[in-house]
Amino acid sequence: MGWSDLGELLERFVLPLVSGGELVVGRPIAIDALGDLEAQIPHVTPQLVAVDEARTEVIAELVVRPPALVFEADELCLAACVHNLLFLVHPRADSWAVSTSARMRVLDTAQEMAARPLSQSRSRVLARHGLLHNLFRLTRMDTKISWWTGSATYLGQRPPGRLRTWRSVRRVREEQSVASYEDLLGTVEVAPVVTALLRRAPLTQLLAMTRDGPPLYWEDAVFLLRDAELARAVAYRSLRGSEPRQVVAAPARFAAAFEQMLERAPAESDVRAVAAFLVHLNALLVVGEAGDREIGPRSPLLSAVLSPERAGQRQRGLATFFSLPAALAQIDPRLGVPPGVATDALLADRWLRHRAQVVEGVGEAVIETLAGRLRRHLTAVLPEHVSM
């Protein structure tokens, strides 16, 4: 099946990609076909409105006033890119009739489609997030049918009814497994294209940092932190979960990406923005404990994730995440403590307890090392310029 009808593509692939359900993957979309599909945009208004409304619903969870969304060539290219990437895990794309060079052609096409201009426009970023927000939740139901003389596997396809007949006589056994993002879009082959795709939709990547995915390049995403509403949405989404390791999973990945950013040559303003955001996440963890009377002087969250017994199993970036306020306090105290913490006595007390517990947990050497690395990027502030 080829995608020559835009209405059908929107209805069977794009709308389920946005709002969930079964999204159909057919023959890959060629670059040349994009022009024909784009020309049909004015003629498929009902399907476009459905997709735009679904995207608006998604964005309404993040911002108070979602911008007006209009499906256009940019979204079409990105959706076609996702479709072509999913075709590469289609069982037919792995058969003898498809050569390696043919697969490379599909991959090149997807790369070309993903090469849309990077954008820092709020409405553009939100529109792309509305389209791609489900990228990490994509699944595929695989069915393996075995009978007394053989077996067959159907990847994302319904097995024919004849194989299921006479179940007891033919000793038919049916096993189902679910392929997740790692199997569909996390392979080495398509990972560079997914990385390129997510650079165009940095909000999607920031909001999905609790899951596995390509590494984050803060330079592409730091502008989102300067938008208070989006930064707040990212912060609240990243601290979801009830189990301690789950709560700090996204902050640890943020901090690991921050470590890698420090290895490059980032702008000082970018380093400051990311550092302030990570300190804000630390403050949110403190706020979460400040009003709870059942919690003792030591934070159970920090005790669980920074315990010396589990030092070997710590997530990457975790020590950096918790050490950052102390390290920043040595360089620029304005960054080391989020504004407003000092005004609330309960919060300030909890903040200090957290910092002391972090020093115990990670050791002063780690903080000193981090401060040394930060000094290379940040201009220190003289004490008289600090207003607390």
Binding site: R27, A97, Q157, G312, A365, T369
Partner: protein
């Protein structure tokens, strides 16, 4: 004794006399961006496109190189993240020369980059691989790494093969050198000016004090108001002949030690000062371990406390956590038992019992809190009307019992009693008298309760007129239950107004035919 020295840099990429070209020809190919097939087994490009195996392998000509590398690396980044798979081995080439190999987990190319940079500084070479074949790690000439041009099987006695730019070298493993043993064997270095501690470095210190000086040090610290704890520690004897270690020390943990006392202790023989680096590791002040011990904290058992001596070049271990006692409880006491105590011996005479009746009398004490009320039965109608105006907290906070002597209402401590009837105050738990009155004779409440047969499950009420009465606690019911008459309630249908959670997007593969890519053209190509 081992010592740490930075090796002079040398050309690690060139052939070494100990390296032979046998058994392979050697030769590497530059890896290009996007390359996905490699000759070397177990390697793959990371997200940056850099060729990486599961491990990084660092080869050093001597053990000093290894120590120098550990020192450099631990100063920049925590060793803890490498410890899960770090192995140090002495390896032998086919020609018999010995080298040192350090295997680290290749967590990311950033980690291996840092390890390679440090290794290059101290004369080491870096390779990457997964099992037996390791290829040269990336450098300026090939930023995405190298792949082996051809692979030959390893000789039977070899355990690893490294592929350099123009050589191939096999190594047989001779022995392993655990990092924790290495750490304990390295001598501490004296730091110039390291004994002058800043106030934040003096926040917590450990003192190892000879037993004979203990009392004096405790008294001195206590007089100077230094907060500290102390315990008696005996280093474990390694053998029956280990006489030199059979000394008993006092171990102090002191906080915010003033600089003048620190200087005094430093110059006093028999007192050694240690600075804690982690929860269970301390190093003698003025000395530093070549390797940053805080960066490899997981190597030190939490059940042991490690004291790294500087001058004596030894490491003492103590069972942890340290159980220390406050020094304020160990100051000397002057006890004089030889002087006789003086004082009179007193006798208690028994009194005859005097039986008098219990009566209510106007109280001379300040008025007590009202805890209940006794409402005459004729005022029951007023109570019913009042109930309509009472807030929910009051309804829940009052309990009532209907008796032939009136309606007894008892309030919980957080609500005010209904202003009806005779207000009652409590002279003892459960013993209620009218407000402004007291029981005479004024005996102790427990004596009074015993003589009245009053106990915990009872309320004993003294009304303004008439005899006292008792009522069981179980007879009192919350006012909100007593307040309502039977109400007929009709059923109502419950409607489900929940919004269905969004469905997961699931991929369904359409049949696309055997030649799905027939006629599919690549971008920018005419084919």
């Amino acid at each position: 004794m081992l010592f740490c020295a930075v090796m002079s840099p040398r050309d690690s990429t060139g052939p070494d006399w100990a390296r032979s070209t046998a058994p392979g020809r050697g030769g590497l190919e530059h890896v290009s961006l996007g390359q996905s097939r490699f000759m070397t087994p177990g390697v793959a490009p990371d997200p940056r496109g850099i060729l990486l195996g599961r491990y990084g392998l660092l080869i050093f000509p001597t053990l000093e190189g290894v120590v120098s590398w550990l020192r450099l690396y631990s100063a920049e980044s925590p060793l803890d993240e490498l410890l899960a798979a770090l192995e140090i081995s002495q390896v032998r080439t086919p020609l018999g020369s010995r080298e040192m190999a350090v295997r680290i987990p290749a967590i990311s190319s950033y980690v291996v980059d840092r390890a390679a940079r440090c290794a290059l500084l101290v004369g080491g070479a870096t390779y990457t691989g997964t099992a037996k074949h390791f290829v040269k790690y990336r450098d300026d000439r090939s930023p995405y790494g190298y792949d082996a041009a051809d692979l030959t099987p390893l000789p039977p006695d070899a355990s690893i093969m490294v592929h350099g730019e123009d050589f191939t070298q096999t190594y047989a493993r001779e022995r392993d050198l655990p990092l924790d043993r290495l750490l304990l064997r390295l001598s501490r270095r004296r730091i110039p000016g390291g004994a002058d501690l800043r106030p934040d470095e003096r926040r917590e210190l450990f003192l190892v004090v000879a037993h004979g000086l203990g009392e004096g040090v405790i008294r001195y610290l206590w007089r100077n108001r230094v907060v500290g704890r102390v315990g008696l520690v005996t280093p474990e004897r390694k053998s029956a002949f280990d006489e030199s270690r059979a000394r008993v020390h006092l171990l102090f943990r002191v906080q915010d030690l003033p600089a003048r006392i620190l200087d005094l202790f430093r110059s006093t023989p028999g007192i050694d000062i240690f600075r804690p680096l982690t929860e269970n590791v301390a190093v003698e002040v003025g000395y530093a371990h070549p390797i940053d011990l805080a960066s490899c904290q997981s190597l030190f058992e939490p059940s042991r406390f490690f004291l790294f001596w500087g001058q004596r070049d030894q490491v003492d271990t103590i069972a942890a956590p340290l159980e220390l006692s406050g020094i304020e409880h160990l100051t000397r006491l002057d006890i004089q038992l030889d002087q006789a105590t003086s004082g009179d011996t007193l006798q208690i005479a028994a009194l005859d019992a005097v039986g008098v009746p219990l009566e209510l009398a106007p109280s001379l004490n300040p008025s007590r809190r009202v805890v209940g009320s006794l409402i005459p039965l004729e005022q029951a109608r007023w109570l019913k009307r009042l109930i309509y105006f009472l807030p929910q907290t009051s309804l829940r906070g009052h309990r009532m019992a209907l008796t032939d002597r009136g309606i007894l209402i008892v309030a919980s401590p957080d609500v005010d009693v209904i202003p009806l009837g005779t207000p009652l105050a409590e002279v003892a738990p459960g013993l209620l008298v009218p407000l402004g009155w007291d029981l005479v004779p004024r005996v102790a409440p427990d004596v009074l309760a015993r003589s009245l047969g009053h106990n915990a499950g009872l309320y004993t009420v003294f009304p303004p007129s008439g005899a006292a009465f008792q009522i069981g606690d179980s007879a009192l019911a919350p006012l909100e239950r007593r307040a309502l008459a039977r109400i007929e309630i009709g059923g109502a249908e419950v409607l489900d107004a929940r919004i269905e959670p969004p469905a997961e997007p699931a991929v369904v593969n359409e049949p696309v035919g055997r030649f799905a890519l027939w006629g599919f053209r690549a971008p920018g190509r005419g084919d």
